[in-house]
């Protein structure tokens, strides 16, 4: 069952001075219930913006322009105020980049839980301090934290602990979809692994749909069932994670994979991708990756390639698509 169905999502940044920038262009996303999907891209690819757009967290000067976002059948792109707020309980939730600064410095963790529970209290639910403590301790335990963290302030917790608290707070909303925006980027590698493991276990246990946004392809491939690759505001590839590692279809994805080195190998070749990402204030003519693509053909400069079925998923590349057609003949 499709939980999140977004079509034609466009996000534009309109500063008072300066040019408009289209940071997300015509993106379609469908997330099935219980799926763990990854969204990978470099800085500036629009992945965080997309995550914010899907959870209705865009703020001026960014704006959602056109497109529809359906969450469990409800069109949330037109919701506002109380209705939108209500959707955040047992609905969709957002975990911010590395939680370093996600906690209010002057409130204890317990109060954070209390604030959320009170904000979404339904009649008949017990909102007492004891209940908050109990539920808080439960949720902290599910992210491998001790109950005494409840009485701590943010500055008394390490980065990894703060991130776990953020996750626990989000879990208190009982969400059906959680979008993790770069959850481990600012953490060191060992803590990163531990937190990612916690996220994976939680997703398996509780069964919520998860979208993991990251620039780290390795982390994403390790945790997710399916990966979408984003470039210059567009989805350029969408494959099951295992397949992507074995055989990417889009030249950009190939470039990304070639930028990784196996620390145990004897000899390593680092490829990399030449050139720079495009200027997003200009309307694209043709494929945005064309200037940097080793497979470029004349058509690439003229027509923007659509996502076509390739392999077990899809990719947006004229050249690869035509290869398949050629093979099929």
């Amino acid at each position: 069952m499709v939980l999140l169905d977004a079509r034609g999502v466009n996000v534009v940044y309109e500063p008072a001075r300066g040019q408009r920038i289209w940071s997300v262009r015509d993106v379609d996303i469908a997330l099935e219930q219980g799926e763990f999907v990854g969204l990978v891209g470099e800085s500036g690819s629009g992945k965080t913006t997309l995550g914010f757009a899907l959870t209705r967290m865009l703020r001026p000067p960014a704006r959602l322009e056109g497109g529809e976002i359906h969450f469990d059948g409800v069109d949330i792109s037109s919701l506002d105020g109380e209705q939108l707020r209500a959707q955040r309980r047992n609905g969709f939730a957002l975990v911010l980049q590395s939680g370093m600064n996600a906690l209010n410095p002057v409130r204890t963790v317990e109060r954070h839980f209390g604030d959320i529970m009170r904000a979404h209290a339904r009649p008949g639910e017990d909102g007492s301090r004891a209940q908050i403590r109990r539920r808080g301790a439960e949720l902290l335990a599910s992210v491998q934290l001790d109950a005494d963290v409840l009485s701590r302030f943010a500055h008394e917790l390490s980065g990894g602990m703060r991130q776990r608290v953020s996750i626990a707070l989000v879990l208190s909303l009982d969400p059906r979809l959680i979008i993790f925006d770069e959850p481990t980027t600012a953490l060191d590698v060992i803590v990163q692994r531990a937190v990612m493991q916690t996220i994976k276990d939680l997703q398996r246990e509780k069964g919520f749909t998860a979208l993991l946004i990251s620039h780290d392809l390795g982390v994403v491939l390790d945790a997710t069932d399916r990966v979408m690759v984003m470039y210059a505001g567009r989805i350029v590839e969408d494959q099951p994670s295992a397949d992507l590692l074995r055989g990417p279809h889009h030249p950009y994805t190939e470039g990304l994979l070639s930028s990784y080195a196996d620390p145990r190998a004897d000899e390593v070749e680092l490829g990399g991708i030449p050139g720079v990402p495009p200027d997003l204030s200009l309307a694209p003519a043709g494929c945005s990756f064309a200037p940097r693509c080793p497979l470029v053909e004349p058509i690439c400069h003229e027509v923007d390639p659509p996502l076509t079925p390739l392999g077990a998923g899809s990719a947006a590349c004229h050249v690869r698509a035509s290869e398949v057609v050629a093979h099929a003949r």
């Binding site: 500063p15 080195a261 190998a265 000899e267 390593v268 680092l270 030449p274 050139g275 200037p291 400069h301």
Partner: protein, 311 residues
């Protein structure tokens, strides 16, 4: 052992041809000032401030042309309400108030700018030294700064002015600057401390640049908006302080400034004679001058903190 060879990426086939970069012909500092003024001008509040300040400056500069009479000549009938000859009326000594207002702009503006510059120079010097050199020097300077901050400004100014027997404009400038450098020094010190640990400073130190060069070529340019904001705050405070001192009779008896007009009005009981214009005009002028500095400061704030810029 792992051998990593970086394979140079193939020449990007679809890349555009290189566009040559031509160096700008306009000299550096001028370009900088031009850009600063243009950015300030784009902020609507700062624009009003610049215009206001400009008007007051013009009045001050062209005072002899604008004022119909000498500000100090006691040739008119005293205590007059506005007449055809004396647009704002006359003082208890028979002086033309309008001319006094026009010439008064010179003193208020001069003191405001002079004291502001002096206070800012002191603040920058002390702030930079204290911020850049941790240790005893920093402790001592910080302590002195905090002490000056804590002692209430106006009472201190009053005491100083009363103790210093001479009554010249420069006494006022000195006294005012002496009591208003501390706020700026604190702010600049904390910014210098932050910048001190940044990489570009560390690399300058490692490449052997001398202290003087580091401070003035690396750190100071990164603090220009802070220094500018400091200057405008100090100038605002200076204008108010000068007016306060004059009002209390601690100013020079020969100068004519907006503050002295208020002092004379108070002494000569303008309230009783019903000459409310003698109170309204100079005070309003002081308020406008101070406001112009504050408004420009809004623009400077927005320059340094992009979040405050108008969206």
């Amino acid at each position: 052992m792992t051998i990593i060879t970086a394979v140079p990426p193939p020449e990007a086939p679809g890349a555009l041809a290189d566009v040559p970069i031509r160096p700008s012909r306009v000299p550096g500092p001028l370009l900088f000032v031009g850009r600063a003024v243009r950015t300030l001008w784009s902020n609507s509040k700062a624009r009003i401030g610049i215009v206001l300040l400009g008007v007051i400056a013009l009045i001050a500069i062209f005072a002899p042309l604008i004022a119909p009479h000498s500000p100090t000549a006691t040739t008119f009938t005293p205590y007059l309400n506005p007449t055809g000859q004396n647009w704002f009326g006359t003082t208890g000594n028979g002086q033309d108030v309008f001319s006094q207002m026009v010439y008064g702009a010179r003193v208020s503006l001069l003191v405001g700018l002079a004291a502001g510059i002096l206070a800012t120079v002191v603040a920058v010097t002390i702030g930079l030294i204290a911020g850049y050199r941790p240790g005893v020097i920093d402790e001592v300077l910080s302590f002195v700064t905090n002490l000056t901050l804590v002692i209430p400004g106006i009472p201190l100014m009053i005491i100083l002015a009363a103790y210093i027997q001479s009554r010249s404009i420069w006494t006022i400038v000195l006294v005012v600057a002496f009591t208003s450098w501390a706020t700026g020094a604190r702010v600049i010190r904390s910014q210098a401390t932050t910048l001190r640990t940044r990489e570009f400073v560390t690399s300058a130190v490692f490449s052997g640049e001398r202290l003087f060069r580091i401070v003035f070529r690396e750190i100071l340019p990164n603090m220009t908006s802070l220094v500018a904001a400091s200057f405008f705050s100090a100038a605002t405070a200076a204008v108010m302080a000068e007016a306060s001192l004059e009002f209390l009779g601690l100013g020079s008896p020969d100068t004519v400034s907006w503050g002295t007009i208020l002092y004379a009005a108070q002494q000569q009981n303008a309230l009783l004679t019903g000459q409310w214009l003698l109170i309204l005009a100079p005070g309003l002028a002081i308020a406008l001058l101070a406001t112009s500095f504050t408004l420009i400061n809004f623009g400077v704030d927005a320059l340094s903190n992009p979040r405050l810029r108008e969206k």
